[in-house]
Symmetry: C2
Subunit: 279 residues, 2 copies
């Protein structure tokens, strides 16, 4: 644990000037606000108070790659876990992907969790399909369903694969669990399909949330549990990235060869105490 | 169809000198000898006679990435389909992977088809597992089984993933079907595991079969239906590679940007007529 404390000390002692200009917060949801599980999950200690504090003292948007429930259901779930937040402040990939599909006049085959099917209401569902949308389909990632998606791509002249984020894994109460990214990579490897990621780490996705607060990217910080999708992705677009030691966080990331977070904190609440304390 | 005939003409007219030195044949099995399906599959027209001719006039080894049945069961299946061949001439990845696992004192978690479990008899099956062997597990590629394999890798200090070949897809009677490669890529993407491919396209795998005929690589030709695993892989190791238009063959491969087969023929029998006709 010594090295963890050391990390925090390094960051807070030597590099906190940026914290003074922070006017808005981008928060990942799963692994930062709560840990998921089959029966709803549980809030991470201190996160409910942290969100209340952000609404009182700053601005906040929730930037998630969640693709197992609609935005509305996700808001309900968070409210059940004790969070007070505005549905309009939650950003998930499915509604963005549905807009993309409609504006490009595509006929998507959906390999997604049943829970987000309503987000695709109004998409063209006639045959033949000309693209595949893949989300974290969980139990729907069967051998048969993967083959069906594969064949849609194989039958397309210009195969297009749209994934709702491209996460490697996430933390469930019962352990780390494969996310959509691996399944997207499987389909891409087998078909050489063009691959469009809707969600983190795409710049447009972050910018949409930042502009919704009427802020610029140097005025916000992204706080997440994923060193790649959250921290590195934000930093690559010029946004400060904070790693919390909750959710899928792993000790070896603290010496990651390529990614150095702007702050590492034990959890969301601690991160806020440090950042808001420097304003 | 005009362009197909043209391709054959090009190759046979302008570049057949190499055929005179061929003393041995490496044949892929699935898609060259037979097409697979749930109920055993069917021999490809002319292939039974072609194998008989090779045994009478040349030498032959069967170099397969088959990972759904043991070598013995595969030989039985081929015999049922009418083929006359020697079990010892069939090369499949599972026995090679089992030797690798044993010689490296590994404790493998097996995500493989039930049909090849006997090949791993004698491997250390105690806990904790320290590597994953993934083959074409077919219906065993469930969400739960993928997560179990993923967690074995996540719990390893130096995660090692051994795949039985790394095929993109293969042709079943009911259509093209995802092969082991995509699933291996999914696990690799999610874990950054070291990835060892046992089978084609690995050079050692080809060389083992060539040396078994007491030949050198310039004296043999690989005939397969996969432009990458068979044709390109052989050519990269200095072995002639022939594409047949059976199995998973696709028309667009005839103008593949990177791979130019040494011959393209409608099927195995036609390929032999051309090659043996030039000796």
């Amino acid at each position: 644990m010594g090295s963890h404390n050391e990390s925090v000390t390094d960051f807070t002692t030597f590099n906190h000037a940026w914290m003074r200009s922070i006017k808005g917060f981008l928060l990942d949801i799963t692994g930062v606000l709560y840990n998921s599980s089959g029966n709803g999950g549980s809030a991470i200690t201190g996160s409910v108070d942290a969100v209340n504090r952000l609404y009182a003292e700053s601005q906040v948007r929730f930037v998630s790659n969640e693709s197992t429930s609609t935005r509305a259901k996700l808001a309900e779930k968070l409210q059940r876990l004790g969070f007070t937040l505005d549905l309009q402040h939650i950003f998930t990939p499915a509604p963005v992907a549905a807009s993309y599909v409609k504006s490009h006049h595509l006929k998507p085959h959906l390999l997604v969790h049943k829970g987000i099917l309503p987000e695709f209401d109004g998409c063209n569902d006639s045959e033949p399909k000309d693209c595949v949308v893949v989300g974290d389909a969980e139990e729907e990632f069967t051998y048969a369903n993967m083959n069906t998606a594969f064949r849609v791509l194989m039958n397309s002249t210009n195969p297009l694969l749209i994934s709702l984020g491209c996460g490697r894994f996430y933390q469930r109460v019962d352990g780390p669990t494969l996310d959509v990214g691996g399944y997207a990579m499987a389909l891409k490897y087998a078909t050489n399909a063009e691959h469009v990621v809707v969600g983190k780490p795409n710049k447009e996705y972050f910018m949409h949330a930042i502009e919704d607060m009427n802020l610029t990217k140097d005025q916000v910080v992204m706080i997440g549990d994923d060193i790649i999708s959250d921290v590195s992705a934000a930093q690559e677009h010029g946004i400060r990235g904070v790693q919390v030691r909750t959710g899928k966080w792993r000790p070896e990331w603290e010496t990651h060869p390529d990614v150095k977070p702007d702050l590492i904190a034990d959890n969301l609440n601690t991160a806020l105490n440090i950042i808001l304390g420097h304003r």
